[in-house]
Symmetry: D2
Subunit: 138 residues, 4 copies
Amino acid sequence: VTSLAEDLQERLTASPFHASMGLEVVQAERGTVVLAFRALPEHLNLQGLVHGGVLATLADTAMGLAVRTSVEPGHRHVTIQLGMQYVRPASPGPIRALGRVIRTGSQIAHADAEITDDALRVLARAQGTYSVARDRTN
Amino acid sequence: VTSLAEDLQERLTASPFHASMGLEVVQAERGTVVLAFRALPEHLNLQGLVHGGVLATLADTAMGLAVRTSVEPGHRHVTIQLGMQYVRPASPGPIRALGRVIRTGSQIAHADAEITDDALRVLARAQGTYSVARDRTN
Amino acid sequence: VTSLAEDLQERLTASPFHASMGLEVVQAERGTVVLAFRALPEHLNLQGLVHGGVLATLADTAMGLAVRTSVEPGHRHVTIQLGMQYVRPASPGPIRALGRVIRTGSQIAHADAEITDDALRVLARAQGTYSVARDRTN
Amino acid sequence: VTSLAEDLQERLTASPFHASMGLEVVQAERGTVVLAFRALPEHLNLQGLVHGGVLATLADTAMGLAVRTSVEPGHRHVTIQLGMQYVRPASPGPIRALGRVIRTGSQIAHADAEITDDALRVLARAQGTYSVARDRTN
């Protein structure tokens, strides 16, 4: 028996992009997923801060996995919109992303995410909108 | 004498994150920057499509560089908000991002971006909002 | 025979909210709609500027009508996400909103809008995402 | 002695746009403001639902007032970006908007808002970004 978190971790590991980022699923229940990430030198911009695109990736991934836990089997989701607020500069070190489903309908799922540092300060916040559809390949 | 595009390219190359992505400045004038990018296997998600976080990075970088060409010397800009619309699935291959300044004020710059594939189809569109401030380190 | 613009104008006039705002359809073709609006005292905030919510309404209405011209008959659209950039303070006087469809798919439509003043200066820009579905009442 | 909520209510009442909407400040503390609103026929669209622009106005107003409680005296704030997620159709009846400051810096404030109906179901969620500056008229 594998847990929901293990299922999602396997999924992440199978994705080249996520595997290269080293994302770890540290918690998962229906509608909520927490990811851990450690910023490496290749994730930093000229000022030595974590690039906003990396934080957008974290947020979208956490929300997407949370949506995945809330849709029926045999359905897939696609990001159609992502809104990021960058609240504080993100220094290298451990970072967490909490993705949360607001509502999953028959066609659309709304989610949000909060990205925090080790001291639980908010680094960024996100809104995500997802299209949900029956997986034609299933 | 180096061109504006060469200046921006040097800046990108000096950033670990951008260097690892292989972004190329193909055009730059005051307020407008075009980036070229080739999606590699590590940029793809499970479905073999370019991850939305990669497209967010492209858009934010193109807009940020466009803002940089429009602020006075000795000023820096920071992304405070990014809104992405994902319009079509992005397949591996050449991708371009056109970043454009809408208006640069004394404190705030607004920009937008359009990401297209080789056939000039729109893959994603972006809104970016930037805080502009005198660089304290200058 | 009524034109597309006249059809949309009738639709607006039948909506209590739009009728109370005095929105006028000045141009319409498939995928593009232009609305005219004159800000009255009741649309102003404390500083005597047009309230951001009024501009959001204008943008959403122009984009929604543009989406309407692009979906098949018997379908309806619902706004699921709206992103506004406020670029300049909006003074009382004539204002126009250009709504434009980026892409209409089977479930989702993406649009953008630009709001300008009499001198064609950009006051605000918008991204809109719409859910498209067969109208169950048809 | 007037309370913070009374101060904000006076401010709303002095604004023609807000007065015409009938917004009521039902709770206010530093960084958080709750508004009550009752949707009237003129706030409805063709389907008899509250227009998305009305909800955007509610969200922006609740967040703007929350930002106002968090900036130093003699400063003003201006909305520079607003992101709305429309989660459920909004029927006529009592509606509440909770605006909350995420962080107020020297130039930028980030806020979010949640709009709920009488049964506390989420109708819409918002991200707001505000420019903060010393009021030149003070």
